[in-house]
C-alpha cells in the first residue's frame, strides 16, 4: 500500500466476484420487478433516476443554449417557460428528492444498521412503482405539450391563467410524493426497530442519522404538498377553490402550504448528501468524524428548524413585516447546524491522513460549493437583501450551488464510494478523478457568473435579457458544456467498470461501516449471521485489530 492511497485490493490474479450475491441470486426480469431486496430496489432506483437526471440535464442544456444570446433565438418565450418548468419538476421531484435516499440510502442503510432488509420490503417496492408511475406521468406531460408554471405551481398562475398540463403534472408530483413518503417511513421504522445487537443510536454511522432526519421531513412535509396539489387540481377542474383570488381564495395560503413542504424539501435533498460527506471525509482521512454527537444532532436540528423557516420564500409576497422578521431570524438559525457540519468536517481533516481518491475529491467539491451556497442563503434570508436579490439570477445561483454543487457532488461522491460494494468492482481511478475536477470547474464556470448577473439585476425565468448581460451568460453556457462532460464521463466509465473494473474485495477503502465487513456485492440477506456491533462508529483501531487477527488466522 503506497502512502498516497488507502485502496487495498485483493490480488487480481486470484480474486473473483463471489458467485453467490444479490445480483446473481435470481435471474430474469420478474425477479427484479417483484423483488423485495432493498439492494435490487436501490439498483432499480439508480437506473431510473439516472434516466430522469439526463432528461432534466438535457433540458438544462436547452435553457443555457437559449440564454447564449439576448434575444429569443432558439425557442419562443412560451417554449422556454415550459423547458425550465420541466427542468425544475424533473430535477426536484424525480432526481434530487429520491437521489441519495432512494438509491444509496436504500442500498446501505439496512447494512449499516446490521439488518437483512428494510423493515417493509413490499412498501419499498411500492415506492419505486409509484416513482415510475410519476415518471411516466411527467413524460406524458412533456409529450402532450408541457406545463409552464415553474416548478412552484404558483397560484393563481397555475389555477387561473394557464392552459397547459397543470393537472397531469400536479398528479404526477402527488404520486411521487407518496413514493417519497414511503421511503422516509421505511427508513424511520428500520432505524428504530431493525438495528442489530449492540447498535446503539450513537454507534450509527452519520449517514444513517442524516437520512433519519431527512425521513422525518419527508414523512411530515410531503403530505402537505400532496393535499395542496389535490386542491390545485380540484380548483382547475371545478373552477372554484381556496387559492384563486378571482374565486375568493387566497394565493398566500397556497404559498404557505406549498413552502411548508418545499422548504423542508430543500433539506430532504441536502441532508442525505451531508451524510455521504461524513462517511467519505472520515474514511479518507482515517479519523473518526470530529464531534460525532454534534454532527448527528445538527442533522436533527436542521430537520426541526427546517419546518419553521418556510415563509422566507414569501418576503416579497405580502406577508406581514413582523412575520418576515421572525422568519428571517429563524432562517439565520438554520445556518448554525449547517456550519457545525462544515466545521466538524474541517476538524476531521485536521491532522488526518488524507488521501485524494475520487469520492474525496467530490466531497471537497461539496464542502466548498455548499459553503458558498449556504452563505449566500444567509444573504437571501435577510429581509433587506432578499428584496433586492429575490427573483434574480442570484437565487438561481444560490440554490444551484446548494443542490448541484452540494447534493449532486455528494451523490456522485457516494456513488463512487459505494460502487465497489454495489458491483464488486472498482471504477477506474484516474479518469474519475479527472471527471470530479472537470465537474468542479464546469460547475463554477456555469453558476458563479449567475451570482454576478443576479446582483446586476438580471431576472430569472425570462428567455430574453438586455444585451449588457451577454458576456456573463456566454461564460455560464460555456461552463454548462464542461459540466455536461463532467456528468457524462461517470456514466461511461462506471458502465465500463461493470465488466472491466478491478475486483474490489470486501473493503477496498479500509472503511469501518458494517456494510464494508460483508462481501461485495453483498448476499441477498446482507450478512451470513446477524452482526453484533461491539465498537463505536469510525473506529479505525478496531478495524486494524480485526485485520491483524484475520491475517494471523489465515497465516
Amino acid at each position: 500500500m503506497s502512502a498516497a492511497t488507502i485502496v487495498s485490493l485483493p490480488d487480481q490474479s486470484t480474486a473473483r466476484i463471489p458467485k453467490m450475491n444479490f445480483l446473481t441470486k435470481e435471474n430474469g426480469l420478474l425477479s427484479w420487478l417483484l423483488t423485495g431486496d432493498h439492494k435490487r430496489i436501490a439498483t432499480l432506483y439508480l437506473i431510473s433516476i439516472t434516466f430522469f437526471f439526463f432528461i432534466g440535464g438535457s433540458l438544462a442544456g436547452l435553457i443555457r443554449l437559449e440564454l447564449l444570446t439576448p434575444q429569443t433565438s432558439l425557442m419562443a418565450a412560451d417554449t422556454y417557460n415550459k423547458v425550465f418548468t420541466m427542468h425544475g419538476v424533473i430535477m426536484v421531484f424525480l432526481f434530487l428528492v429520491p437521489s441519495v435516499p432512494a438509491t444509496i440510502g436504500n442500498f446501505v442503510i439496512p447494512m449499516m444498521v446490521g439488518a437483512k432488509d428494510l423493515a417493509l420490503p413490499k412498501v419499498n417496492l411500492l415506492s419505486w412503482y409509484l416513482y415510475i408511475i410519476a415518471g411516466f406521468m411527467v413524460i406524458y406531460t412533456m409529450a402532450a405539450g408541457g406545463v409552464d408554471t415553474g416548478w412552484t405551481f404558483t397560484s393563481p398562475l397555475s389555477t387561473h391563467y394557464l392552459n397547459t398540463h397543470v393537472i397531469s403534472t400536479g398528479l404526477a408530483i402527488f404520486v411521487a410524493g407518496f413514493s417519497s413518503i414511503f421511503t422516509g417511513l421505511n427508513f424511520i421504522v428500520t432505524i428504530h426497530k431493525m438495528r442489530c445487537p449492540g447498535m446503539t443510536w450513537f454507534r450509527l454511522p452519520l449517514f444513517v442519522w442524516a437520512n433519519y432526519a431527512a425521513s422525518i421531513l419527508m414523512v411530515l412535509g410531503t403530505p402537505v404538498l400532496a393535499i395542496t396539489l389535490v386542491l390545485v387540481v380540484l380548483e382547475r377542474t371545478v373552477h372554484i377553490g381556496v387559492f384563486d383570488p378571482a374565486y375568493g381564495g387566497d394565493p398566500i395560503l397556497f404559498q404557505h402550504l406549498f413552502w411548508f413542504y418545499s422548504h423542508p424539501a430543500v433539506y430532504i435533498m441536502i441532508l442525505p448528501g451531508m451524510g455521504v460527506i461524513s462517511e467519505v471525509i472520515s474514511t479518507f482521512s482515517r479519523k473518526r468524524v470530529f464531534g460525532y454527537t454534534a454532527v448527528a444532532f445538527s442533522s436533527v436540528a436542521i430537520a426541526v428548524f427546517g419546518f419553521f423557516v418556510w415563509a422566507h420564500h414569501m418576503f416579497i409576497m405580502g406577508i406581514s413585516n413582523y412575520a418576515a422578521l421572525v422568519f428571517s431570524l429563524l432562517t439565520m438559525l438554520v445556518a448554525v447546524p449547517s456550519a457545525i457540519k462544515i466545521f466538524n468536517w474541517a476538524f476531521t481533516l485536521y491532522k488526518g491522513s488524507i488521501t485524494f481518491e475520487t469520492p474525496m475529491l467530490y466531497a471537497f467539491g461539496f464542502m466548498g460549493l455548499f459553503t458558498i451556497g449556504g452563505m449566500t442563503g444567509v444573504f437571501l434570508g435577510s429581509t433587506g437583501t432578499d428584496i433586492h436579490l429575490t427573483e434574480t439570477y442570484f437565487i438561481v445561483a444560490h440554490f444551484h450551488f446548494v443542490m448541484v454543487g452540494g447534493m449532486l457532488m455528494a451523490f456522485l461522491s457516494g456513488i463512487h464510494f459505494w460502487w465497489p460494494k454495489w458491483t464488486g468492482r472498482m471504477y477506474p481511478e484516474k479518469i474519475s478523478q479527472f471527471a470530479a475536477v472537470v465537474t468542479f470547474i464546469g460547475f463554477n464556470f456555469t453558476f458563479f457568473p449567475q451570482f454576478i448577473l443576479g446582483t446586476l439585476g438580471m431576472p430569472r425565468r425570462y428567455a430574453a435579457y438586455p444585451p449588457e448581460f451577454q458576456a456573463l451568460n456566454v461564460f455560464s453556457t460555456a461552463g454548462a458544456t464542461i459540466l455536461g462532460v463532467g456528468y457524462l464521463l461517470p456514466v461511461l466509465y462506471l458502465t465500463w467498470s461493470l465488466k472491466y473494473g478491478a475486483i474490489a474485495g470486501n473493503n477496498p477503502w479500509q472503511a469501518t461501516g458494517l456494510e464494508w465487513q460483508t462481501q461485495s456485492p453483498p448476499l441477498t440477506e446482507n450478512f451470513l449471521e446477524t452482526p453484533i456491533m461491539d465498537h463505536e462508529a469510525y473506529d479505525y483501531e478496531w478495524l486494524e485489530q480485526q485485520q491483524q487477527k484475520e491475517v494471523a488466522s489465515v497465516g
Binding site: 463471489p18 458467485k19 453467490m20 439488518a115 437483512k116 432488509d117 428494510l118 423493515a119 417493509l120 420490503p121 413518503i181 417511513l185 421505511n186 424511520i188 421504522v189 428504530h192 426497530k193 431493525m194 445487537p197 414523512v219 411530515l220 412535509g221 403530505p223 402537505v224 400532496a226 393535499i227 395542496t228 389535490v230 386542491l231 380540484l234 377542474t237 371545478v238 373552477h239 372554484i240 377553490g241 381556496v242 374565486y247 375568493g248 381564495g249 387566497d250 395560503l253 402550504l257 470486501n506 458494517l514 465487513q517 460483508t518 462481501q519 453483498p522 448476499l523 440477506e525 450478512f527 451470513l528 449471521e529 446477524t530 452482526p531 453484533i532 456491533m533 461491539d534 480485526q546 484475520e550
Partner: protein, 251 residues
C-alpha cells in the same frame, strides 16, 4: 466464498429453529415484526394527520374570511343524516375493536362476524353520504358543476331550511358566492374522507376472505391490529369533520 462475518459473534450465531410461516425472513423474531409494522402504521397515520391538516387549515382560514357565508352554507347540511353517519361510524369502530379482540382470542367465527359488520357499517356510511351528496346536487349546491346562489341570496326561497333557521339573512351577492367556497371544502374534505373509507372497505373485503381461511386466528394479529388503527383513524377524522362542517354554526 469470502468471509462476510468478520464481526459476527459465533457464540450468538442464530440457531435456525423453525419460524412460524407468517414471520418475514428479514425479522429476527415475531415480536420484532409486530412491533415494527405497528410502529410503521402509527407513522403512516401521522402522515395522514399532516395530509388532512392542509384541508383543515384551508377550512379554518376561509371560514374566518367568509364567516356569514360559511354559517348559512353549513345550515344547508342535514344534521339528521350527519348524526346518523357519526353513529354508524362509531359503531363500526366498536365492531372493529371487537374484531381485533376476537383475533387476539382466536375466535374465528366472531372475527369474521365483526369484520363483516364493520364492512356493512362502512358501506352504510357511504350510502348515507351518497344520499347527502344527492341532496346537494338537487339543491344546486355542487360548486363548479351545478351551482346556484339562490338559497343564500334569498334564504326564504328555501322554506325547509328557513323554517329551522329563521334568522338567516339574505347575503350580498359577493358573499353569497362564497357559500360555494364552503361547499368546495365540504366536498374536498368529506370526499377525501370517503376515499379513505373506500380504501378501508376494500381492504376489509380482502381481510374477510382471509379471516374465513383462518389467517388471523393463529396468534398473528398484527395485520388486523394495524388495520384497526387505520379504521379508527378514519373514524377520528370524521369526528373532527362532523362538528366543523355540521354543528359549529348551529345555535
Amino acid at each position: 466464498m469470502s468471509d462476510s462475518t468478520a464481526i459476527s459473534n459465533s457464540a450468538a450465531a442464530e440457531t435456525h429453529h423453525e419460524h412460524p410461516p407468517y414471520q418475514r425472513h428479514h425479522f429476527e423474531t415475531v415480536e420484532q415484526q409486530a412491533d415494527t409494522t405497528n410502529f410503521a402504521m402509527w407513522l403512516f397515520l401521522l402522515t395522514e394527520v399532516m395530509f388532512f391538516g392542509g384541508l383543515f387549515t384551508s377550512y379554518l382560514i376561509m371560514r374566518n374570511w367568509y364567516y356569514p357565508a360559511f354559517v348559512e352554507a353549513s345550515h344547508q347540511l342535514n344534521i339528521g343524516w350527519g348524526t346518523a353517519n357519526t353513529a354508524v361510524l362509531i359503531m363500526s369502530s366498536f365492531t372493529m375493536a371487537m374484531g381485533v379482540w376476537s383475533a387476539e382470542t382466536r375466535r374465528k367465527g366472531a372475527l369474521v362476524l365483526c369484520l363483516s359488520l364493520t364492512f356493512v357499517l362502512g358501506l352504510a356510511f357511504l350510502g348515507i353520504k351518497t344520499i347527502e351528496y344527492h341532496e346537494k346536487w338537487e339543491k344546486h349546491h355542487v360548486p363548479g358543476l351545478n351551482w346556484s346562489d339562490a338559497s343564500f341570496l334569498n334564504p326564504a326561497s328555501d322554506p325547509e331550511v328557513h323554517k329551522d333557521y329563521p334568522g338567516d339573512q339574505p347575503l350580498a351577492p359577493d358573499m353569497a358566492q362564497k357559500a360555494q367556497m364552503y361547499f368546495f371544502l365540504y366536498f374536498a374534505m368529506t370526499g377525501m374522507h370517503a376515499l379513505h373509507m373506500i380504501i378501508g372497505i376494500s381492504i376489509l373485503g380482502f381481510m374477510i376472505v382471509r379471516a374465513r381461511a383462518g389467517a388471523y386466528t393463529t396468534g398473528h394479529v398484527t395485520y388486523v391490529e394495524n388495520f384497526g388503527l387505520y379504521w379508527h383513524f378514519v373514524d377520528i377524522i370524521w369526528i373532527f369533520l362532523f362538528p366543523l362542517l355540521y354543528l359549529i354554526s348551529r345555535h
